[in-house]
C-alpha cells in the first residue's frame, strides 16, 4: 500500500514553506488559514456526525437484543417501543433536554439554561461552554448529544420487558429525555459541578448514559414486579428468550455502534485522539467476551451464548468512561473485570430481580465499575490532555481521582433513582405500569398491538388469508380471553 505521491506532496509542501520565509501579503494567509481551518472543521464535523450515526444505529442493536431475549408473543411491542422512544426523545431533547444539559446560563454548576428549541444554519454555533473547544457546529453537537440520550433511554427498558404497558414508554420517555438524563449529562459532560469542579471523569458516559439508564430501569422494575411465572415457590424459573441469532446480531451492532460512541466523544478528529479510543474500546470488548465465557463456563459448565454477548456489552459499558483516559493494556483489564462482573451479576440478580436482558449487571454494575476504573487506570498524560481530573491510583498512588469517581457514581445513582422511582410511581398510580395477567399470558403483541409479531407462528393457517370480522367487535365468549386491544389500553 506504498503511496509515493503522498510523500512527494508532503516534501513539496515543506519546500514550499522553505521558500516562503521570504516576504508575503497577508491576504494569502488569511485566506489560506480560513481554508485551512475550514478543512479541519469539516474533518472534525464529518467524524462527529458519522460517529453520531453509528450511535443512532445502536437503536437497532438494542431492538434486536431485546427481541432475541423476549418470547415470540412479545416481540412486536419491542420494536414498536424502540421506534417510539427514539421519536419522543428526539423531540423532547431538542426542545428542552439539550439546553438543560449544555446551554450556558442557568445555575450552571447544577443545570444549563439556554438553547431550547434551537434552530441551526450552516456552521452556526451556540453558547455551549463545556464543549466550546470543539469546532463542530451546533447542529452536529446537538445530534451527537441527542443520540446518547436515546441510548440511555433504550437501556431503561431492558429490565421491564414482556409486561409493561406501551403507554408507559411514552409517559416516562419524555421527562427522561427532557430532564432526568440532561441533569446527569450536564454534570459529567456539560460542565456541571462533578466535572468542572470535582474533576470526575466520564469520557463517553459509563455513568451518564449507562448507569443512568440502568438505574431508571431498576426503579421501574421494583415498581413493576417480575413476569408471571418467573418466581414460584421461592425459586426462579427460566424464561428463555426465543432468538439467539437476533440477540447476538444486536450485540454485534452495538459493538459496531460503540466505535461512534466512545471515539466520537472526542468531538474532534484533528487531534487524532479518537483513533486511540477506537483501539482501547475494541480491546476492552474483546477482554469482556473472553472473561465472560471463561467465567460462565467455570461456574455453570456450559458456554451460555447470551452470556458471551453480555460480556462484550458489559465491557463496552465499562470502557466507556475510561476509553479516552487509559492505555490499551488497561482497556483489556477493565473489560475482563466487567466480563466477570456481568456473569456473576446475572446469576446472582436473577434469583431476586426479573431482568430479562440482564441490563442491571451489564449497564449498571459494569457502568459503576467502568467509572471507578478511571480512578485506577487513568494516565496523568491523558487526564491532562482531556483537561479533566488527574491520573489514577496505579499511576499517581493517590486515591483522589478514585474518590471523585465514587462521588460521581453515587450522586448520579441517587439522583436518577429518586427521580425515576417517583416518576414511575406516579405513572403506576395513574395509568398503571403493567398489563393485565391475561394480556401478559396472551402476549403483548396481540393484546396491546392487535397482532402478533410473528403471525404465522400463532395463526391457524400459516401463510393464509384472514377474513374481516362480520362484526367489528369481539363476541361475548371471547372476552374471557384475550383481552381486546381497546380494553388493553383503556386504563391509559
Amino acid at each position: 500500500m506504498y503511496r509515493p505521491t503522498h510523500d512527494l506532496k508532503k516534501i513539496s509542501v515543506a519546500s514550499g514553506i522553505a521558500l516562503l520565509s521570504a516576504l508575503v501579503p497577508v491576504a494569502a494567509f488569511a485566506d489560506d488559514t480560513t481554508a485551512t481551518s475550514a478543512a479541519g472543521i469539516a474533518a472534525d464535523t464529518v467524524w462527529v456526525i458519522v460517529a453520531a450515526c453509528f450511535v443512532m444505529f445502536m437503536q437497532a442493536g438494542f431492538a434486536m437484543l431485546e427481541v432475541g431475549f423476549s418470547r415470540m408473543k412479545n416481540v412486536g411491542t419491542v420494536v414498536a417501543k424502540v421506534i417510539t422512544n427514539l421519536s419522543v426523545s428526539s423531540i423532547a431533547y431538542w426542545g428542552v433536554g439539550f439546553g438543560l444539559a449544555f446551554g450556558a446560563g442557568g445555575a450552571f454548576a447544577f443545570i444549563g439554561g439556554s438553547g431550547f428549541f434551537p434552530t441551526f444554519s450552516p456552521g452556526s454555533t451556540m453558547d455551549l461552554p463545556a464543549i466550546a473547544a470543539s469546532t463542530v457546529p451546533a447542529a452536529g453537537k446537538w445530534f451527537f448529544e441527542f443520540v446518547f440520550c436515546a441510548v440511555s433511554l433504550a437501556i431503561v427498558w431492558g429490565t421491564m420487558l414482556e409486561r409493561t404497558k406501551f403507554i408507559v414508554y411514552i409517559l416516562f420517555g419524555i421527562p427522561f429525555a427532557a430532564f432526568i438524563y440532561p441533569l446527569i449529562s450536564h454534570q459529567l459532560f456539560g460542565g456541571g459541578y462533578l466535572m468542572a469542579t470535582l474533576g470526575s471523569q466520564d469520557f463517553a458516559g459509563s455513568t451518564v448514559v449507562h448507569l443512568t439508564g440502568a438505574t431508571a430501569g431498576l426503579a421501574g422494575l421494583l415498581l413493576l414486579g417480575a413476569r408471571i411465572g418467573k418466581y414460584e415457590k421461592g425459586r426462579a424459573n427460566a424464561i428463555p428468550g426465543h432468538n439467539m441469532p437476533l440477540a447476538q446480531l444486536g450485540v454485534l451492532i452495538l459493538w459496531f455502534g460503540w466505535f461512534g460512541f466512545n471515539p466520537g466523544s472526542t468531538l474532534n478528529a484533528t487531534n487524532l485522539h479518537f483513533a486511540d479510543v477506537v483501539v482501547v474500546t475494541n480491546l476492552a470488548a474483546a477482554g469482556g467476551a473472553v472473561a465472560a465465557l471463561v467465567t460462565v463456563y467455570l461456574i455453570t459448565k456450559t458456554m451460555d451464548v447470551g452470556m458471551i454477548g453480555n460480556g462484550a456489552i458489559a465491557a463496552l459499558v465499562a470502557i466507556t468512561a475510561p476509553s479516552g483516559y487509559v492505555e490499551p493494556w488497561a482497556g483489556i483489564v477493565i473489560g475482563m473485570v466487567a466480563g466477570v462482573i456481568v456473569v456473576v451479576g446475572v446469576l446472582a440478580l436473577d434469583k431476586i430481580l426479573d431482568d430479562p436482558v440482564g441490563a442491571l449487571p451489564a449497564h449498571g454494575l459494569a457502568g459503576i465499575w467502568g467509572t471507578l476504573s478511571c480512578g485506577l487506570f487513568t494516565t496523568p498524560a491523558l487526564a491532562k490532555f482531556n483537561g479533566v481530573g488527574q491520573g489514577g491510583l496505579f499511576y499517581t498512588g493517590s486515591f483522589h481521582q478514585l474518590g471523585a469517581q465514587a462521588i460521581a457514581v453515587t450522586a448520579s445513582f441517587v439522583t436518577v433513582f429518586v427521580l425515576s422511582y417517583g416518576l414511575f410511581w406516579i405513572i403506576k398510580k395513574t395509568v398503571g405500569l403493567r398489563v393485565s395477567a391475561r394480556e401478559e399470558m396472551e402476549g403483548l403483541d396481540i393484546s396491546e398491538h392487535g397482532m402478533w409479531g410473528y403471525p404465522e407462528s400463532f395463526m391457524p393457517v400459516p401463510g393464509g388469508v384472514y377474513r374481516p370480522a362480520d362484526t367489528p367487535t369481539v363476541n361475548a365468549h371471547a372476552s374471557h380471553e384475550p383481552v381486546s386491544t381497546s380494553q388493553g389500553v383503556a386504563s391509559a
Binding site: M441, P460, Y466, P468, D470, P472, E481, P482
Partner: protein, 122 residues
C-alpha cells in the same frame, strides 16, 4: 387399553403430566394444536382491518393407558386442567387394541405403564 386425548391450555401441561405420572402412565405425547369451540376466537386488527381469528392455540395430550385406570385418570386430568373459563378444552377416550414398545418389540398393556414415578419436569 385406551387412548386419552385431551385438549388443554398451554399453562396446564405440567399439572396434567403430573397426574399421568402419579397414575403410572408410561409416557405422554404432546402436540401443538389450534382449536375452536364454544369459545369462538376473537377479533384482531391488522393495519386497521378487523380480522376474526376462530382458532386459538391449545395443547393436545395423548396418553395410552390400561382400561382399568382410565376413568380415574380422566377425572383427575379434568380437574388438573380446569380454570373454569370457556376454552378449557375437552378430553376424549378412544379404544386402543394393542401397544408396542419399539425399543424391545414387547406388546401389550405393560408397555404403557411404569412402576416408579418419572417426575417429568421436576
Amino acid at each position: 387399553m385406551k387412548m386419552v386425548v385431551a385438549i388443554i391450555r398451554h399453562e396446564k401441561l405440567q399439572e396434567v403430566q403430573d397426574v399421568l405420572d402419579e397414575c403410572g402412565v408410561s409416557g405422554v405425547t404432546v402436540t401443538e394444536v389450534k382449536g375452536c369451540g364454544a369459545q369462538r376466537g376473537y377479533t384482531e386488527k391488522y393495519r386497521g382491518a378487523a380480522v376474526h381469528i376462530s382458532l386459538r392455540p391449545r395443547l393436545k395430550i395423548e396418553a395410552v393407558m390400561r382400561s382399568e385406570i382410565v376413568n380415574t385418570v380422566v377425572d383427575k386430568m379434568a380437574v388438573a386442567a380446569r380454570t373454569g373459563e370457556v376454552g378449557d378444552g375437552k378430553i376424549f377416550i378412544l379404544p386402543v387394541e394393542d401397544a408396542v414398545r419399539i425399543r424391545t418389540g414387547e406388546h401389550g398393556a405393560e408397555t404403557v405403564q411404569h412402576a416408579e414415578r418419572a417426575m417429568w419436569g421436576h
